[in-house]
């Protein structure tokens, strides 16, 4: 069982999603891939807590088929 995170983005969640998609506007797939990598690196630094980040990585991975 992976950890369930409480919602912390409401009521501005749609604003986040819109901004995220807009950030990718006009990029090719590989450029988007690279942007995602940069976003993750930056967010990790913002989150700062390495244990928390490691847990997020585990939770995210648990949804992969393999």
């Amino acid at each position: 069982m992976s950890r369930v995170y409480e919602d912390r983005m409401s009521p501005r969640q749609d604003e986040f999603f819109e901004a995220l998609i807009a950030a990718h506007d006009g990029l090719s797939e590989s450029e988007s891939h690279a942007l995602n990598a940069r976003i993750i690196l930056l967010l990790a630094n913002v989150v700062q807590d390495i244990d928390q980040i490691k847990e997020v990585l585990k939770v995210a991975r648990s949804y992969s088929a393999s």
Partner: protein
Amino acid sequence: MAYTYRPYPHSPIGKLQTKKQHHPVVIVGAGPVGLALAIDLASRNIVSLVLDENNVVSVGSRAICWAKRTLEIFDRLGVGERMLAKGITWKIGRQFHGDQELFSFDLLPETGHKYPAFINLQQYYVEQYLIERTRDFPELIEIRFKHEVINHIDHGDHVGVSVSTPEGRYSLNADWYIACDGAGSTSRERMGLGFTGKPFEEKFLIADIEMETSPFGSEAIAERWFWFDPTFHAGKSALFHMQPDNIYRIDLQLDATVTAQAEKVQDFALSRIRAIVGEAQFRLDWSSIYRFRCARLDNFVHGRVVFAGDSAHIVSPFGARGGNGGIQDADNLGWKLAAVINGQASSRLIETYHDERSAAADENIQASSRTTNFMTPKSAIESLFRSETLKLAVDQPFARTLLNSGRLSVPFVMRNSSLQTLRDAGKMLGSAAVDLPLAGDGTADKGWLIEQLQGLFVLVGFGAVELPQVAGVRRIGINQNGGDVSFCAEDQVVRQRYGINIAYLFRPDGHICAAFESPTVAAVTAARDYALTKHR
């Protein structure tokens, strides 16, 4: 059971060609917005003439979801209870991905409100009930069917209007020309006003079917069901609603390439619905293919010409914000127009209609655009983010909130309205009245707060607060004996919805424009005058 369209008799032209008439208010369009405005004005003793090029109510069900706030406005107009009785009440939305239910949400988890979060009621019923209600005001409302407005000119002190009827043409003059002539507004076109916004590529099939049993199970479920990527319509989205008369609404997202040729729509709809309902018997009641867009006028007020409803703004329908937004336009405009016509305010008050309702339109357009974008990913990366969100939404609450199948119409809060007096207790400023169950205590019978405070300026005191007497302001005491009438209400609910030992001044459209901890005659008068723009 299919709705029986009964054409209204067209109004004979009579002497209209020979004797030019002058009208205080001409409303162009007898859709929900024009009709609501006419009734609102009549409730304030203002005469209006409604002209419509057609003579039947909405062809096809079109708007079906009517929100709580709209129903509260309809209550004031005298048709809310009838709509509630006929409509299908619902408040639960259920979200599916493929065959799997992800989660459900409750749009009104608390009790203690006269009206529910939503009812589903076909637009033709809404229009029919409104038209029937106008008949209660034979001295104040005249509707002329099959009278098409073909020209209008603003002369500064009045508007000249040209009308075409099956019997010929005539012209008339009006002090105010209210364009409620819908999304394709010719009033707007004639004035060369830009209607800028964003069209969406994808098309949607909207179909009403009549079935004895629900197409989605053995029980009739009065809920909003939404699918991302359903097995019966792979790769796209689907929305399902129940309406009165055993009619079910199915909205299916289509490819942008689908042709919308009229003669093929039916066959196409039939084949898609067959795929959903299998062998079950059904009758296709109405179907149409739409390409949605979001757009609005830069200005809703141009001198003596005022735009309301779809003529002023259009949205994609996934938040049910079109019709509901339009009714709030009428609610906002009615009392202002009446105040100006009665000489209580200058036409500056009409300009605040634009300020307040264009801000509301922006909110509606933003919400509807975000939904439409979420439903129709434009790039591979957008699809990827969406499909991963769907994956996480199986158990992550935050991901569920990200899934956007429609942010359903909520009353607009006029946070920045220029009609507000900034005083105590800012929290509720600009918001529409929140309902409250009332118990009688001798001076009045039990009922609901929304029945008490709409239509006029009303000062409501909750708990220990003195209510000064101000001419033209009705006073209501809640859990106190002051006021023109007083009621008891459950203390806890009062505290939660309004706070205690505080008075609010409600505008005639039920929005809060001032709050006081200890109101005085001078302060309440000033706030009321401020809301009528008397200071400018």
